[in-house]
Subunit: 304 residues, 2 copies
DNA sequence: TGCCGTGTTGCAATATGGTCAACGCAAGGC
DNA sequence: GCCTTGCGTTGACCATATTGCAACACGGCA
């Protein structure tokens, strides 16, 4: 859109930190770009960038401007979506940032269900750890985020909170597979496929293990649930996953809840940027996920 | 600002309903204006106006677009205010819509106090009845509204609610001036200067009078408190006003509360458009008014 | 029918924004 | 110390988009 071009330029330069790099990406010459920015700064009455020998960096005013620009751009997208909605065609795009736990099963399933009804809506899925998922939402990179135990952040507004037990994943013929729920100390008697430090449940586990002062036999540690699942399925090794992250078709894997006395319930939070209005498509998608999680795992809280 | 020009054009045309009128106001030719709008519509992929023989009218998409534009424009103003705030200069503009009751004393006083500290902030005061004040806020014409008994509207977000008694206004030597509080039936034994139907307190009075089934001797009715006050001061006539609307320097007027058994407390509400972020200047002004009303009249509720 | 008003269009003038080449400057390698 | 390399910026020139002017097409109205 024409009237947003300058804003997009500034956004890009702020991101790349260099006029020349941005100029290439935007396929114009650096001189044209520098003029656009100078004109904008002149109109605004304040510089927005600091010119360093290594490139451009936003100054304090620029940070405000960038926030404004991001808001404008996403607002405009929302407008388009609303207008498309008027003509009966449910059209739009939804970007969701999610914890890896849900990347395998839950999110693809929900997207498939949604797109079965609204084929003109497209999706972007960013798989991020809980910290970066919330950051993506704050930076207008994602409309919503579905994360485990998000760090407290004032700009992150929970739309749905579900408390879930952590589960131990093991093969069907594992000695512990007979029990319905497990104590942590039972589990730790066996070799463990440990989630890596970037995964939210690692911190929860770590805390419980330290509290219980139990020794751990970690045979493999990975930041990828893919890897952890494979190990738990292949060798007689135990891994962990939050309930909603357990694949429906689990092969020869079974999941057993860890007793809540050992591990507190885990928060699964679906949230957005506070104060932002979601597009029609995104808000319908949120509704669908909320309903789906609710019927599958029971009463989540819906703040708001 | 360049990148907002098209948006402002659309806003103006939507308001005037005519390309030629708007073209004159914007000091460009109608042809330039019509092309701007056509280009915008082409970029958007949808017409925004309906072309009628009598002029232009927004269609459904246009209504959405207009809301978006208003939000953009006011957002940009807020951005400028925030940036000005960065450089230490508290600069900005605040538009407040207010009931007539406060136009005489309260608002001018508060503005004076505010400007004593922040001389670079300017003000617009729109005096509107409660319905139109809320509408002005919803249409981005006013940042905040201070009104009596605002109609319930989802987009109007109260920032401060104070309950106040209605008072009878009379000259110092009126027979009823001796009492501290008055029953409605005492008051109605005397001739009344009745607030006009556009004033919020008229409805409250009317309700109470009907409930009590009392006869009223209305000698003058006016939509202007100025007129009502003069009458109450001159002849031996009683008028009405909410407590916070009573002038500090009242001349030979005195105010006596009406017993709460006869007239319920009146809501005085300071509010803004829900979901909108106020400029720095506006939000400081709100804080000041809230504090001022609080210390003068005691505990108002502050939702949120 | 003739006269208003409306928005729109063709064409020429103009402003806006673009490219290209050159410049000033600071940092890093030798 | 000098040279190279990267950065943003500037001046001259040019293409394109935007504007103004005049003419047009259409609907309402007397």
């Amino acid at each position: 859109m024409k009237h947003l071009k300058t804003l997009q330029c500034i956004d890009d330069v702020a991101g790349s930190g260099s006029i020349r790099r941005s100029a290439e990406r935007l396929s114009i010459t650096p001189s044209a770009l520098t003029r656009r920015i100078q004109d904008f700064e002149a109109e605004l009455g304040t510089p927005v960038f600091e010119r360093m020998p290594q490139g451009m960096r936003l100054n304090a005013a620029g940070e405000l401007v960038l926030r404004h620009i991001r808001a404008q751009l996403s607002d405009f997208e929302r407008l388009r979506s609303q207008i498309a909605d008027l003509s009966g065609v449910r059209r739009g795009h939804v970007t969701i940032a999610t914890s890896q736990a849900f990347a395998h099963d839950l999110i693809p399933y929900e997207i498939a269900v949604y797109r079965a009804q609204h084929a003109l809506v497209s999706f972007s899925v960013l798989v991020r750890d809980h910290i970066h998922a919330v950051e993506a939402v704050a930076a207008f990179e994602a409309d919503v985020a579905l994360v485990i135990a998000p760090p407290p952040a004032p700009e992150f507004q929970p739309l749905l909170v579900i408390h879930q037990p952590l589960c131990a994943l093991m093969s069907k013929d594992h000695p512990l597979a007979a029990a319905r729920t497990l104590r942590l100390r039972e589990v730790l008697e066996y070799p463990i496929a440990m989630p890596g430090p970037s995964l939210a449940i690692r911190h929860l586990l770590q805390g419980a293990i330290v509290r219980a002062a139990l020794p751990v036999n970690t045979v493999v540690e990975s930041d990828s649930f893919e890897v952890l699942r494979s190990y738990a399925g292949g060798e007689q090794v135990i891994s962990f996953q939050i309930r909603a992250g357990i694949p429906q078709a689990s092969g020869n894997l079974v999941a057993r809840e860890i007793d809540h006395r050992d591990l507190p319930m885990t928060q699964l939070v679906l949230g957005q940027l506070r104060g932002r209005s979601l597009s029609v498509a995104a808000s319908k998608f949120v509704d669908q996920i909320a309903g789906s999680l609710h019927t599958r795992y029971g009463g989540g809280e819906r703040p708001d």
